[in-house]
């Protein structure tokens, strides 16, 4: 049997390095937020003469262009926030005289985006609190000298680890590939939260079972190690099935769905890693502090 617990320090160092890199990325590059959060507008156009001619029309209307993209004959302009009248004027000008054909046109006011982000955040935080409480409740009767809170807290930290790694990857992608944090990214984070908790609970459940079984014959860290070993196959198989779905979406997909599935591939992989190599060692460490 592989002694996972023996290498605890190594796993934690690997994660810490990844997180440190991630924090460096977030601090130095920031997060590139899409207009869903910042407000502004996006126009996608088809059948236009040239990108620069469209650019001129927009600039003539005294509207600032944030970004301009051309893929497969589809021109996407991201515009800074401006008045609705100006945008209506722009729309008229673009559609008159068959200059171009508008495929997508999206206007979002900044307060709306900020509020959306705030609501989502409140929802996420509340559900996290509920998760910790529920775990403390369902692991309350655990035998041995384990504090029930340590399960919830360890699962929470493992999950934050997964979210942080995914988010920081997107700060790099935002800086180097212009990938934005959009509403789909939030969906990805929610999914990662669900998966990460799921994965960690399966390992913890086995620890609970083995604590009853080996209570008198084995040490706590030995029991943890056996539990990780026994759930190892399941963890890998499950993440294999989920990652394969998301990976095929990533390779086939385009646009925002591509990066959505990338976020999931990364987050779910991190989730599997953390449930095996981080959550259980953390459980031991946190338990030591809670018992003091």
């Amino acid at each position: 049997m592989i002694d996972f617990i023996k290498y605890t320090k190594l796993f934690i160092v690997v994660s810490l390095v990844a997180i440190a890199l991630g924090i460096y990325g977030i601090v130095s590059y920031g997060l590139k937020l899409s207009i869903e959060y910042t407000g502004g507008s996006v126009i996608s156009l088809k059948n236009y003469e040239s990108a620069s001619s469209i650019e001129n029309i927009v600039l003539q209307k005294d509207i600032e262009i944030k970004e301009i993209n051309e893929i497969d004959g589809l021109l996407t302009l991201k515009l800074n926030e401006t008045s609705n009248e100006k945008l209506a004027g722009l729309q008229k000008e673009l559609t008159s005289n068959q200059v171009t054909q508008i495929e997508d046109f999206e206007i979002i006011s900044p307060s709306y985006g900020a509020e959306f982000a705030k609501n989502s955040l409140i929802g996420v935080l509340l559900s996290l609190i509920v998760v910790v409480l529920f775990m403390a409740y369902s692991f309350y009767k655990v035998s041995g000298n384990l504090s029930p809170w340590s399960f919830g807290i360890a699962a929470l930290v493992a999950m934050l680890h997964d979210i942080l790694i995914t988010t920081s990857l997107f700060s790099f992608l935002g800086h180097f590939n212009n990938v934005e944090i959009d509403a789909l990214f939030l969906t990805a984070i929610l999914t990662i939260i669900g998966f990460s908790i799921n994965d960690t609970i399966v390992v913890f459940d086995r620890i609970r079972e083995n604590l009853n079984k080996y209570q008198d014959s084995k040490s706590l860290s030995e029991i943890c190690n056996i539990s990780i070993f026994e759930t190892f196959n399941r963890s890998l198989t499950t993440s294999f099935t989920v990652v394969i779905i998301m990976f095929s979406l990533f390779t086939l997909g385009s646009g925002s769905i591509k990066y959505f599935s990338l976020a999931l591939v990364v987050g779910l992989t991190a989730g599997t890693y953390s449930s095996i190599f981080i959550a259980t060692p953390l459980l031991l460490i946190i338990n030591k502090y809670l018992k003091k």
Partner: protein, 454 residues
């Protein structure tokens, strides 16, 4: 010990088959052979029971797939007492629905979202592209107010300075569009000019007549969307007489018709403001939908092969369970839109969430079958191993699914927009996966692995 129960299996098979047929789109089946000729279709059914129509033809697709327009309107409730806000929001929804219908859009979906103290109306217009037209239909509305002259002011003003606005002359009287029950275009019998006859509700008439009597020989401003339409002066003989419902004159026939229509559609009880407007093309969404379907199919095939390879006979059971899961969930998606107006809408995040839930459903099977393998490794015969495999795995399946369900429930309650939809999809997925991948699969193994004694 779990008893083998073939009759339950038959019931489940019937149930899952029905779900699968309901979930399927209409598929033609053509087969011709010199001896047999088949030409029929399956799936995409429509049922009529009494007056109720159960339409299982298609999923309700979101705008991001079907294309169209979406407009989000902020409702300013600052002037409305707290206990009347919900009903005011509903009134706005009804009125705007009517306006949009006048604009010629038949299939609209609008819903009110409320978060904290902010009320929003989300209007979805599938297949529409004329944003400007829609906005003018929704937004160029008539918010009708009657205003009275401010103390110490005269109208028409004797000296106008640049900085002065109408607000410096008039102050709201408390009577407005919400006091009307209707309006119509009439022709003034003396001048033969078109005019708009307003019709007050009983309460509105009383309020209006009080104001009229207080403002004898003074003008009353009739404002539509903060623009002064006219300011007739109250004639002195009204002080004691009966106050008739007012008319708006000085408009041509076209204007009279338009204003009257807007008023008939109802004046909005609260001011509104557009906060989001989208035109969404269908090509991008269709492309993503198609690719997601391919991605789902490819990965399912890989997962199936893996299941058979690693669990043998049990792998087949896992595949059947997974297909049952997909059928039931999709049938629920369709059914939810027949039963309620706010059912599951297939959007791009929704599809991604569904694909993910397929993965989570696999997890239940994997947990059980890995456990069974383990029990066999520990020396149990297959029978005992299956039994304790389900028993032991249940504890972790239960805990992990309950936690995810609770978290989704919180998100469903507090989230807005697609976060809500995502949470709903996940909750449906969790319940169904427990049914198919634990309960159904238990019954299936008990029937099919019977003769498998070690």
């Amino acid at each position: 010990m779990f008893k083998s129960n073939p009759s339950k299996l038959i019931l489940i098979t019937v149930f899952v088959t029905i779900c699968a047929l309901l979930a399927l789109p209409k598929i033609p089946i053509e087969y011709s052979h010199p001896l047999i000729n088949i030409s029929t279709t399956i799936g995409g059914y429509v049922f009529r029971i009494g007056d109720n129509v159960f339409d299982f033809r298609d999923f309700k697709k979101g705008l991001d797939i079907e294309g169209g327009m979406k407009i989000v309107i902020n409702l300013d409730m600052s002037e409305i007492p707290e206990n009347e806000r919900d009903s005011s929001a509903n009134t706005v929804k009804e009125i705007i629905d009517r306006r949009v219908n006048l604009f010629g859009v038949s299939e609209t979906g609008s819903y009110i979202s409320k978060s904290n103290d902010t009320y929003r109306l989300n209007i979805e217009l599938p297949g529409q592209k004329d944003l400007e037209g829609a906005i003018s239909a929704i937004g160029s509305t008539a918010q009708l107010r009657f205003r009275v002259l401010k103390e110490g002011q005269t109208w028409p003003p004797t000296n106008i300075s640049e900085q002065m606005s109408l607000d410096d002359f008039f102050v709201d009287s408390g009577v407005g569009g919400s006091d009307l029950v209707g309006s119509e275009v009439i022709f003034d019998p003396t001048t033969n000019q078109p005019a708009i006859q307003l019709r007050f509700s009983q309460e509105g008439r009383q309020k209006f007549s009080e104001i009229v009597k207080k403002n004898v020989s003074k003008p009353i401003g009739i404002f539509l969307d903060n623009q002064l339409i006219q300011a007739p002066t109250v004639s002195p003989d009204l002080a004691s007489g009966v106050v008739n419902d007012p008319t708006i004159t000085g408009v041509n026939l076209e204007e009279a018709k338009q204003i009257s229509n807007l008023l008939k559609a109802g004046a909005l009880p609260v001011p509104i403001q557009i906060v989001e407007q989208n035109i969404i093309g269908a090509t991008l969404g269709q492309d993503i939908l198609q690719k997601s379907l391919i991605a789902g199919g490819v990965s399912l095939a890989i997962i199936f092969i893996y299941f058979i390879f690693s669990y043998g006979r049990l792998g087949f059971i896992a595949i059947v369970c997974l297909l049952s899961y997909i059928s039931i969930v999709l049938a629920i998606f369709k059914f939810s839109n027949i039963l309620t107006t706010s059912g599951v809408v297939l959007t791009i995040p929704g599809i991604a969430g569904f694909l993910f839930s397929v993965g989570v459903a696999c997890d239940a099977s994997i947990l059980v079958f890995e456990r069974i393998k383990e029990e066999i490794r520990w020396g149990k015969n297959i029978h005992l191993a299956i039994n304790s495999g389900y028993q032991r795995a249940w504890s972790s399946i239960k805990d992990s699914n309950y936690t995810t369900f609770l978290a989704s429930l919180i998100l469903f309650i507090f989230g807005t927009g697609f976060v809500k939809g995502f949470a709903l999809t996940l909750m449906i997925g969790i319940v169904v996966s427990l049914l198919t991948n634990v309960y159904f699969s238990r019954i299936m193994t008990s029937v099919f692995i019977k003769e498998y004694k070690a």
